[in-house]
């Protein structure tokens, strides 16, 4: 099987998982969510295989163009959700997350995204490509789960559910923030120093990572030191995730800079 076949298989599995999760959402039967999570895990396994095949075929990390990068981001989203669901048992996030993942996979497979693996330009030939991109995107995936939890916090009026979503979003940020700091900022600085001779150049992508970091720092300080919880915290997380999203997509298409390759 080649990479695009496995990619399509992954896509189908994610769609099936989303159906099971939606069935759970409407029937409230735990068994639907269990089946959904099993199918999502199967999808993740297939997706991992697709990424491995891609890596072997292209000879480099599977996130050097937009198609690869979005595919990897979806993989990270599903992985982050499965980890958080194992720990905190929050199948209710499943349907929304799977819908976002399906949207991302559809975007990745759209004709807008060139699929050919192109040879790596000299600047990207480094093991820091692996470390910098994978850890950053994994951190952003945890932000995504926190983002969904916060939207659900705002949408529900049930106090017990609100309490739960508030705690879930904090736990996700507690994982995502260190990962994002390590991958996005620290590894990014180390790599920039090795490749360009300067650890920080105020390039738009760097600045937007810093903005994202500021927003989550704001979240942690208002929450831990000033005791903010609930609605205001949820809004800050939503802003933080949108900043992360803009760092990922917006900077590439709207602002020019050193990160012009991906």
């Amino acid at each position: 099987m080649n990479e695009s076949t496995i990619f399509v298989l992954t896509f189908i599995l994610y769609i099936i998982a989303a159906f099971f999760y939606l069935a759970f959402l409407f029937t409230r039967k735990e068994s639907w969510a269990k089946t959904g999570s099993l199918v999502a895990v199967a999808g993740l396994v297939a997706h991992t295989a697709a990424l491995v095949v891609r890596t072997v075929e292209s000879g480099h990390a599977p996130f050097t163009n937009m198609y690869e990068s979005i595919s990897f981001l979806s993989w990270a989203f599903v992985l982050a959700f499965i980890i958080i669901d194992r720990k905190l048992k929050i199948p209710r996030i499943g349907p929304y997350l799977m819908l976002i993942v399906i949207g991302l996979m559809a975007l990745a497979s759209s004709p807008l995204m060139p699929k050919e693996a192109t040879p790596l330009v000299p600047a990207l030939q480094s093991y820091w490509l692996w470390l910098h991109v994978s850890v950053t995107l994994l951190g952003e995936a945890f932000f995504a789960v926190a983002f969904i939890a916060c939207l659900m916090y705002l949408a529900t009026s049930d106090p017990a559910k609100k309490e739960r979503m508030d705690s879930v979003s904090y736990r996700c940020v507690a994982v995502g923030f260190p990962l994002f700091t390590l991958g996005g900022l620290v590894f990014g600085m180390v790599w920039a120093y090795k490749a360009w001779g300067t650890y920080w150049s105020w390039d738009p992508k760097e600045v937007w990572s810093l903005i994202t970091w500021f927003v989550f720092a704001l979240y942690l300080h208002t929450r831990i030191v000033m005791g903010w919880k609930g609605k205001r915290s949820a809004i800050i997380v939503i802003l933080g995730f949108l900043a992360a999203l803009f760092t990922y997509f917006g900077v590439n298409y709207l602002l020019a800079g050193l990160h012009s390759y991906a």
Partner: protein, 457 residues
């Protein structure tokens, strides 16, 4: 005044600064930074002057942005120090004595009874806590034995270590900004140059460009030798992502260029009347070679332009030093007299047209056709030499930052306090627990300890 000082040392200022820094940073990504006055004029019209005056066109290096960062640093120092004292006392000289009633209102609490004197019961509690890796402190006040068991005390200081890391990074940034040296070195093979203020020299021994099958660049490699008083001391191949570091200087492969002063070209000569006629000439620009034909034609390549365009007066002009449209000017002579000349193009082999020097030779010259098959110019390597004394502090700061985050999020401080009292060979144990984070995991651990204590022996 007091309120002003209070504001400057408050967490509220930190929040305000985080918001202002974020907004200012966004502004800096919306306004292109560090462009020319003309570009801003074209983009913003009347506003351009105002933007430049407010330093919004070099925002991240502007006085007011640096002032914000300075204020941020001061605020971090003050806020951290303010919380550090109580935390330090809590870690080193904690209050061991606790009130049993106070323990019983904690979220995690329990009590147990023993048919042994208090000191024996206390010994049992100590064994249990030590077995669960709690560090113990003990104090006897009157009839009560107070026990304090704690683990992962360092977790208390996670946020302080994060703040210290940020300050170290900011300090590194200041040192970088004030002292770093950066300059481009263009080096042709064999050339020796020195980095600014360096007491050694760098020689480029060999420069190679490797290509992928599709023609895109795979790698630039510069074989460099470090010379101390003209003597080689170190040789290393530098490529993108693989700099050479020596005496605090680092040499980065950043780019390359062509040396068009003296290129060599390969020209093929064909005859329309004779398909079997083919001469492949490899000559340097400025040299001449015989075509070895019956007419005894000699060909000279007199000019070479890597990027041929026609200028305003229809004259050939070189647009750039990149080989976008390589063209060579060839001249044919017979018996020392010029007979034809013309431009030939590597990208457009059919475009070449030879002009006869006079009408007499027209017929004979138009029979010849030339193609510019290839060209070879020496490439020079463009390196960046940089010395940045702030860098070690940056890495130290990053290490502290990550260690602090790990401590703050994943090294939760847990405490179990117990009060043992009793008389006539009987004891009463009251105990309670506190967890700064990871309360679920702590609940499990507390329950194990509690279950063991509840079991009466």
């Amino acid at each position: 005044m007091k309120r002003l000082i209070k504001f400057f040392t408050s967490i509220k200022l930190a929040i305000v600064l985080l918001i202002i820094l974020a907004v200012a940073s966004i502004l800096g990504t919306l306004i292109p930074q560090g462009r020319s006055l003309e570009e801003y004029g074209a983009r913003y019209g009347q506003m351009a002057g105002l933007l430049m005056k407010l330093q919004l066109t070099g925002l991240y290096h502007s006085i007011w942005f640096l002032a914000l960062l300075f204020l941020f640093a001061v605020n971090i120092i003050v806020c951290t120090l303010e919380r550090l004292g109580p935390k330090y006392r809590r870690a080193v000289t904690p209050r061991i004595e606790s009130d049993p009633k106070g323990l019983l209102v904690l979220k995690f609490k329990d009590r147990a009874k023993r048919n042994v004197p208090p000191d024996e019961a206390a010994a049992e509690v100590k064994r249990l806590l030590a077995g669960a890796h709690y560090r113990l402190k003990e104090e006897t006040v009157g009839p009560r034995i107070h026990l304090l068991g704690r683990k992962k005390i360092l977790g208390l200081f996670g946020s302080d270590v994060v703040h210290l890391g940020l300050l170290v990074i900011l300090a590194g940034g200041i040192i970088s900004g004030a002292t770093s040296i950066r300059s481009n070195l263009d080096l042709a093979e064999g050339q020796v140059k020195s980095a600014p203020k360096a007491d050694f020299e760098i020689r480029l021994d060999k420069f190679t460009t490797e290509y992928y099958p599709d023609g895109s660049v795979k790698a630039w490699k510069s074989d460099l030798t470090v010379l101390e008083q003209k003597k080689p001391v170190l040789s290393q191949t530098v490529a993108v992502n693989h700099p050479l570091t020596y005496k605090g200087y680092s040499f980065y492969q950043t780019s390359y260029g062509f040396n068009w002063d003296n290129p060599s070209v390969e020209v093929w000569a064909k005859k329309k009347s004779d398909p079997a006629f083919l001469r492949k000439l490899k000559i340097k620009v400025g040299e001449r070679a015989s075509l070895d034909d019956p007419e005894k034609t000699t060909l000279a390549v007199t000019k070479f332009l890597p990027d041929f365009v026609l200028g305003d007066a229809n004259e050939p002009v070189n647009r750039s030093n990149q080989p976008n449209n390589p063209a060579a000017f060839v001249e044919g002579t017979r018996d020392g007299a010029p007979v034809f000349s013309g431009w030939i193009f590597s990208n457009y082999p059919d475009f070449a047209q030879m002009h006869a020097a006079n009408d007499k030779d027209k017929e004979k010259t138009t029979d010849l056709a030339f193609e510019l098959k290839s060209f070879d110019a020496g490439q020079f390597s463009v390196l960046e030499a940089a010395k940045d004394p702030g860098v070690p502090l940056i890495w130290l700061g990053c290490g502290l930052l990550m260690a602090g985050l790990a401590l703050a999020f994943y090294w939760p401080t847990w405490e179990i306090k117990a009060v043992v009292e009793g008389a006539q060979g009987k004891s009463d144990i009251v105990f309670g627990g506190l967890a700064s984070k990871s309360r679920e995991a702590f609940a499990v651990e507390f329950e194990t300890v509690a279950a063991a204590l509840r079991k009466s022996k």
